[in-house]
Every structure is written in structure tokens, then in C-alpha cells.
């Protein structure tokens, strides 16, 4: 092979550098990374022009499709953020995001995994703290969608627990469950998207949510702080006696009834897969 002919690895490194470049095709071909591998003045020695397109235009077909593909993948996973930002801002976000977090997986389904982190990395982004919360919500929804299916704890298994074993019993959550605490009111934005109403935008309000899957649909329950704390303790493996005692610390009948109601809802919604006594 002549020195002038780029070997396969160099050719591929160059092409990826150009295709994934965030600027125009001309900027991509003349970028430092691309120039180091194949000088731009040598482009037509590497890529032939066609009867109707220059060498740069032909590489530009791949360059143009790259960001489009990334945007399609991210808008599938983050429809609420796209709805809030609008098309133009969302495209800008995608361009910035894939520069910092390009895909390293065989699947595009996980391209957006770093979006919550991106908004922490980029606090200068308008409403970054709110977008961080919204991204956490939407990421968790994709995780719940894809988690392993598991059996749901039934009433027979609960009734089979001996009365003296309840104190030390532990409930195991289904894999398709995410418990989340937010600093912003994210749910009204999710609802507005689904109802095609204007996005309410950022509003600071502590919010607690459990996301879970039932019959292959992603569902949610909004929680109070006390509900969240109790469910978190249970999900993290605390013995039921300890978790319930903390939640019903006042020991008032009203509080105990409330805790019992929460507990019944969680069981009936299928948040647990097993009880270990």
C-alpha cells in the first residue's frame, strides 16, 4: 500500500470524526481531528465526486443523517423535555449532548442515559435544575419500561406469613420500580404533554413519585413525603416492623390507618414481588 493511501483504520477514524462533527460538513472536514487524519485538500483523492455531487456533499449525506438519527432516538425517550423546549432548542440540546455523551452502545435505547447528568454538567443551560429533574423522570420511565418482568406478590403469600414473623419480614420490590424525589413539580409537565396543553414550565415544589409497571404499562403514584420515606425504607430492605413503626411514630389511630391504607394500595398495585420472613 502506498503512503498516500489511508489504511482502513485511519479512514474509519477520519470518517467518524467528520460524520459526528456538530458543525457544517465544511467545518467537519476542516476540523483539527479530521485534518490530522486526512488533510482537507486531499478529500477528492479519498472520496470520489459523483456526476451530481462533490466529494464533500457525498460525505455530507452521512454527516446530515447522524444528528437526525440521534435526535430521533432522544425524542423517543424524552418527549416531555422536547415538548417543553420546542423543536429548535431540543435540536440544539441534542447537538450539545451527543458531543459530550456520544453513543458507545450497540443500542440507541440507552443513548439518553446521561441526560440528567448533562444538566448537572451544564448548569448554565436555561432552567438546568428543572430540566435535570424532568430528565430523571423520563429516564426512569424508560428504565421501568425495559426492566425484567417478575411475578407480583399475591394475597395468599401475605396471608401465609405467621403473625410473629411480620416484625422481621422484608418486602422485595419488583425490578420495574423506581422511587424518585424531585425539587420541581415535574408531573404537571408530563400531564400537559399527554393532554397537549401548554407546558407549565419550571416551578419549585418538592415532589415524590413511584414509577412502576403493571401489565406492561408504565404507571405512577404521586406520594406524600411520609409515604415516600416509608416506601423507600421498605424498598431498601428495612424490616417491616421497623419501617412501619417509624412511619406511624405518633401511634395515633388516624396515622396508623393512613399507613395501613398506603400499604394496601402498594400491595394491590403490585409493587412487590416477594416477602421474605
Amino acid at each position: 500500500m502506498s503512503l498516500d493511501r489511508p489504511e482502513l483504520a485511519r479512514l474509519q477514524h477520519w470518517m467518524q470524526e467528520v460524520v459526528a462533527h456538530p458543525g457544517t460538513i465544511e467545518e467537519a472536514i476542516e476540523s483539527d481531528g479530521a485534518e490530522q487524519k486526512i488533510p482537507s485538500e486531499r478529500l477528492s483523492d479519498v472520496v470520489l465526486p459523483s456526476h451530481s455531487m462533490t466529494s464533500a456533499e457525498r460525505v455530507g449525506v452521512y454527516h446530515g443523517m447522524y444528528l437526525m438519527r440521534m435526535e430521533e432516538a432522544l425524542e423517543t425517550d424524552y418527549p416531555v423535555i422536547r415538548y417543553h423546549l420546542g423543536d429548535r432548542q431540543f435540536s440544539h440540546l441534542v447537538r450539545e449532548y451527543v458531543q459530550r455523551y456520544p453513543s458507545t452502545s450497540y443500542t440507541l435505547n440507552r443513548l439518553g442515559d446521561h441526560l440528567p447528568q448533562f444538566f448537572l454538567d451544564e448548569p448554565q443551560w436555561h432552567d438546568a435544575a428543572f430540566l435535570h429533574d424532568l430528565a430523571r423522570l423520563e429516564l426512569a420511565m424508560t428504565e421501568v419500561f425495559d426492566e425484567e418482568e417478575s411475578p407480583v406478590l399475591g394475597s395468599e403469600e401475605l396471608e401465609a406469613v405467621p403473625p410473629d414473623a411480620w416484625e422481621e419480614a422484608r418486602l422485595r420490590p419488583i425490578p420495574a420500580l423506581r422511587l424518585l424525589a424531585f425539587k420541581h413539580a415535574v408531573i404537571p409537565n408530563l400531564v400537559a404533554y399527554h393532554e397537549d396543553r401548554p407546558s407549565p414550565g419550571p416551578r419549585r415544589r418538592a415532589t415524590w413519585v413511584v414509577l412502576y409497571r403493571r401489565d406492561y404499562s408504565v404507571l405512577r403514584l404521586e406520594l406524600s413525603r411520609a409515604e415516600y420515606d416509608l416506601l423507600k425504607a421498605i424498598v431498601e430492605g428495612a424490616p417491616l416492623g421497623e419501617a412501619l413503626a417509624t412511619a406511624a411514630a405518633s401511634k395515633s389511630q388516624r396515622q396508623q390507618a393512613k399507613v395501613f391504607r398506603w400499604f394496601r394500595t402498594w400491595i394491590s398495585e403490585g409493587l412487590f414481588t416477594a416477602i421474605e420472613s
Partner: protein, 281 residues
């Protein structure tokens, strides 16, 4: 007319399995020969996609079609990915696993595009070695698709059809012959698509693809977003005459219409198949 050398069956007419059609397929149980699944969509999910796939794979033959094997990449082979591909093939009973003659990324990245290989001796030898390793690992026939391409490298040592034919022979793998891709690349590069078809080793072809595309005037993009155009149907007829009958699949991936529309489109391929068989008889 010849058969492929592995004796893989002609499954008749199939369509690409898409999420928007799940409910229709399960409720209406359309009369269709097989479904082709997009491999990567089912590798890391235990949710609804896999639940639907299991039900469909119980009723219909399936084959797997991937986009991330990156057989021409100079990066190391991703065996973690291949192990998942193999497990999914076992779960679904897929008759074969296919991917593309291309590369998708280097330096640990994935552009998720089917990027073109230079048709050089170096690139051929590199790809052949990788296909042999991958095929051994998968323990089933690997079937590779000729790509749509939008550029040509100046240092190519051979025409695309020679590269494809030699790749299949030297790596001892199967071919998924995409008739629309031949039309698209022939338009983009100004060569004769019939010469391409005539050069393909018939006994290595296990499946056909048909699809619509978007003509931009200066070039054609393989968008899978429309009906198959008449010149591609003509090329399909020529392919059947030259290569023989094979499992024939219609791809429709963008602006996806209702299932009935996709089904009607692939039934046109059935007309072509019957016509060519009648002509031979």
C-alpha cells in the same frame, strides 16, 4: 433456479415487525410467511417488546436483522453483544441472523449508521476474518446484506458486487440481497444494477429485501418510507430469474402506514414470484 447452500427455507413473504403493528398482528393474525425483527430492539428489554415478540414468535417463523455487528470496523469484536444476539436467536428460534456489510463506529463509539467500507483487498481480508469469528460464535448461519451507499472511495480495488461476492465466498457466509439497495447505489454511483445482480453467487443468497426510498434528485436515500418503485420491482423480477425464490421481506421504517398497507405491498412481491415461476415452467 437454485437453492441456497444451507438449505435454509424459502419462508415466502414477510414484513419487518414494528411496534405500531403489534396489536393488529396479535388480534388479526394476518396470513404472512414470516416476520423479521430488529435485533437490537429486543436485546436489553424484559418489558412489553419482548412480551409481544414471544407471542408473535410462537405463531410465525422469525428471522433476526441487526444494525450493530459492525463487521468491517477496526475496533475489537463486541462479544458481549454477540452473546446477547445468540441468546435472542435461541429464544425466538430465528432461522438465521443477518446484519450488514458495513461498519458503524470505531474508538468505542457507535454512529448507528451503516457506514461504507472501501472495496479494497485490505478491507476484504479484514472483514472476512471477523465474519468467520462471529459466525463460529453465533453457531448459526450469518447472513449479510449489501448496503445502500452514498459515496465511493477513490482507492477501491474492485466493484461493490465483486467485493460482496468474494466476501461471501471467502468467509463462507450467506447473503441477504437487498434489491432496493442495489437500485439506490447504482443510481448514486452510476453503474448498471443488472450487472450487480448477475454477479451475485446465487447459492449464498438466503433472503431478499424490498423497500421504498427517497429520490433527492442528486442522489437517492434508502429511507424505507414509501412504496417500492417500479424499476425496483423489475430488478426483483430479474433477481428471481437469476438467483431463484427466497424468503422475501418488505421493510417500512419511516412514516409507517397501517399493517394492511404494508401487507398489500409485500403481496405484490408474491405476484412477481408467481409470474417468474410460471415463466420458468
Amino acid at each position: 433456479m437454485q437453492n441456497n447452500r444451507w438449505g435454509l427455507p424459502d419462508l415466502g413473504l414477510g414484513v419487518g415487525l414494528r411496534t405500531t403493528h403489534y396489536a393488529h398482528i396479535l388480534s388479526e393474525k394476518p396470513d404472512i410467511g414470516f416476520f423479521e425483527i430488529l435485533t437490537e430492539n429486543y436485546l436489553d428489554t424484559g418489558g412489553r417488546p419482548l412480551f409481544m415478540l414471544d407471542q408473535i414468535a410462537e405463531r410465525y417463523p422469525t428471522v433476526m436483522h441487526g444494525v450493530s455487528m459492525s463487521i468491517g470496523s477496526t475496533d475489537p469484536i463486541n462479544f458481549e453483544y454477540l452473546a446477547k444476539v445468540r441468546a435472542l436467536a435461541e429464544r425466538t428460534g430465528s432461522l438465521w441472523v443477518s446484519d450488514h456489510i458495513c461498519w458503524t463506529g470505531v474508538l468505542g463509539r457507535n454512529t448507528h449508521d451503516l457506514l461504507p467500507l472501501p472495496y479494497t483487498e485490505e478491507s476484504l481480508a479484514h472483514s472476512v476474518e471477523r465474519i468467520k469469528v462471529i459466525q463460529d460464535f453465533l453457531e448459526r448461519p450469518l447472513v449479510l446484506e449489501n448496503p445502500s451507499t452514498y459515496l465511493e472511495f477513490a482507492d477501491d480495488d474492485m466493484k461493490e458486487w465483486e467485493f460482496v461476492a468474494r466476501l461471501a465466498e471467502e468467509a463462507d457466509c450467506g447473503l441477504l440481497f437487498d434489491v432496493n439497495n442495489v437500485y439506490v447505489s447504482a443510481y448514486n454511483h452510476g453503474y448498471d444494477p443488472v450487472a450487480y445482480i448477475d454477479a451475485i453467487p446465487a447459492d449464498r443468497v438466503c433472503q431478499y429485501h424490498l423497500a421504498g426510498h427517497t429520490n433527492k434528485g442528486t442522489h437517492i436515500i434508502d429511507t424505507h418510507s414509501d412504496h417500492v418503485v417500479d424499476p425496483v420491482w423489475e430488478l426483483f423480477g430479474h433477481t428471481i430469474r437469476t438467483v431463484g425464490l427466497r424468503a422475501t421481506l418488505l421493510e417500512w421504517d419511516a412514516d409507517i402506514p397501517p399493517f394492511e398497507v404494508v401487507h398489500q405491498e409485500v403481496l405484490k412481491a408474491g405476484d412477481w414470484r408467481r409470474q417468474e415461476v410460471a415463466n420458468v415452467a
